[in-house]
């Protein structure tokens, strides 16, 4: 998780902001004046080599191995692994939940960011603090937290174990900070004068929001939701208890992969099947990162 409100100024009061910016150095250096771009001599070959080697060994090589394993025995095996009815049902549920989480976060995250930036009230710092909790909590702890409230002997009488609703609530919990923390800095930087001018010319508050505020925060909403989507797609720990992994009902992608890896019979086959599902998740993550970069470049160009 982790990860950052871009190189945007850190979110205001309190908290961990682990949304990593995906743009990297390239974009940031664009706006920051000449001296940032001025190279300090040339990078020495060995230093660059060691760093590139490290990233390749830790990240690139293993991920390549997954794709290699998925297609190693031919595209037919890949296809039959991911279209197996139980796997397909799990993949469908995972995507549906992730899309739902992205949509709810786009709306609720923006509402929360708006309230935090535009309204001062008692308890607003507690709200700030609460937003950061899901990022800082280990996922397995998040899972147990959900179980404590929505488990078999729920104090509020709601038992969501083995229900898709329970998985959805757990995913909303772990993804809560993403949109809030991407939209918040943009709202803070917003020039209020355009809004005041529109209002003084008779625009209703709704029209002011729709015509002036919304277009400016839309890219941040989109990138926050994309991060939430990616997180929901790969989530494991917070769902383990609440889902119960019932076939065709609450099985989801990451858990099916883990289940295949635990299966001691015909290890080679199950590892290939697991890799095929993993490859699909990987491609989806890569697409999300590309989308984020495109959004960031557009924003940078515009403004």
């Amino acid at each position: 998780m982790s990860i950052d409100l871009a190189d945007a100024p850190p979110a205001p009061a309190g908290g961990v902001s682990p949304v990593p910016s995906s743009g990297g150095g390239g974009r940031a250096s664009a706006g920051r004046g000449v001296q940032a771009r001025q190279p300090f001599g040339r990078i020495s070959g060995p230093t660059l080599g060691v760093l590139v080697l490290w990233v390749s060994l830790i990240v690139l090589l293993p991920l390549t191995a997954v794709v290699g394993k998925a297609f190693g025995s031919g595209a037919g095996d890949f296809w039959s692994a991911v279209t197996e009815p139980r796997v397909r049902s799990a993949l469908e549920l995972t995507v549906i939940l992730a899309v739902g989480v992205a949509v709810v976060n786009a709306i609720m995250g923006t509402v929360i960011a708006w309230v935090l930036v535009r309204e001062r009230f008692r308890g607003s710092s507690l709200l700030e603090f609460a937003i950061d909790i899901p990022f800082a909590l280990p996922t397995i702890v998040a899972g147990l937290v959900m179980l404590a409230l929505y488990g078999a002997n729920s104090p509020v009488g709601i038992n969501l174990v083995g229900a898709r609703t329970g998985m959805f609530v757990a995913l909303l919990f772990v993804t809560l900070p993403f949109t809030v923390r991407t939209v918040q800095p943009v709202l803070l930087d917003l020039d209020r004068e355009a809004e005041q001018a529109a209002a003084s010319l008779g625009a209703a508050p709704n029209a002011v929001f729709r015509r002036i505020v919304l277009p400016q925060i839309l890219p941040a909403m989109a990138s926050g939701s994309a991060l939430a989507f990616a997180r929901a797609l790969g989530e494991y720990g917070s769902l383990v208890y609440i889902s119960s992994a019932l076939p065709f009902k609450t099985e989801w992608a990451a858990q099916v992969i883990y289940g295949l890896l635990q299966d001691p019979t015909n290890v080679d086959r199950t590892t290939q099947q697991a890799s095929a599902i993993a490859a699909i998740l990987l491609v989806a993550s890569a697409l999300v990162l590309v989308t984020l970069t495109v959004i960031e470049r557009r924003v940078a160009r515009r403004g």
Binding site: V16, G24, I133, L144
Partner: protein, 260 residues
Amino acid sequence: MGLRTIAVLYVGILVLLPVGVLGYRTFQPGLAEFFSALNDPLAQHAFQMTAIIAGVSTLINAVFGIAMGILLARYEFPGKRLLSAFVDLPVAVSPIVVGLALILVFGPQGWFGPVENSAGIVVINAKPGMIIATVFVSLPLVVRAIVPVLQQAGMEQEQAAASLGANAVQRFFRITLPTIRIALAYGVVLCLARCIGEYGAVLVVSGNIAGVTETAPLRVGHLVQDELDTQSAYAITFVLMLISVAAILIGAFIRRRKKI
């Protein structure tokens, strides 16, 4: 209903209520139960494992993060955007997929399996694999914390120092490190919190052997999954939660200092 009410209710019901219920359940049987659960040898071992894995991983990522941060902030080279993208990639990858990927490369049947065998190194189902998995998932945290600061600070001071005869090591310790120290501290806190809490990736590569490769989050998973002792799971969870809360507060404190 105003927007404020909606926001407060949403966060209250989604986050504060369940966290509160967990706290209540932890201490419902009394403090003695809580401490005896933490004194259990397996729980103690799990916390020790977590300290070792998270400590080593954070150290590795801090060193790597400083070097990579300087590289991305100050130098132009072909493929820079791509390298930057690969540094960010781990946050978007499912922890379970991370574990699988590492098994395929470092496992006994994996690409490096024969090399590890002949060298007598065990990576998967042992500490080295758990450390690599933890390093993977927390890779970008330190880098992303220090890159903006390095870019903002620019190169003038270092160029001045260089022109006065300071060598690279002196420039690093006298100028670069003091410039980034607050951002670095922030990145390290984030990274440490992430490393302490990692579950999925470590679960896959550790083999999950109680008393051997079991970290605190794995112990919680084990206790609840096998319905061994939910009360002990709550106790360990509560300690992990305290660590997270401390990380949030320290992070907020560091950021407030940065503004001054």
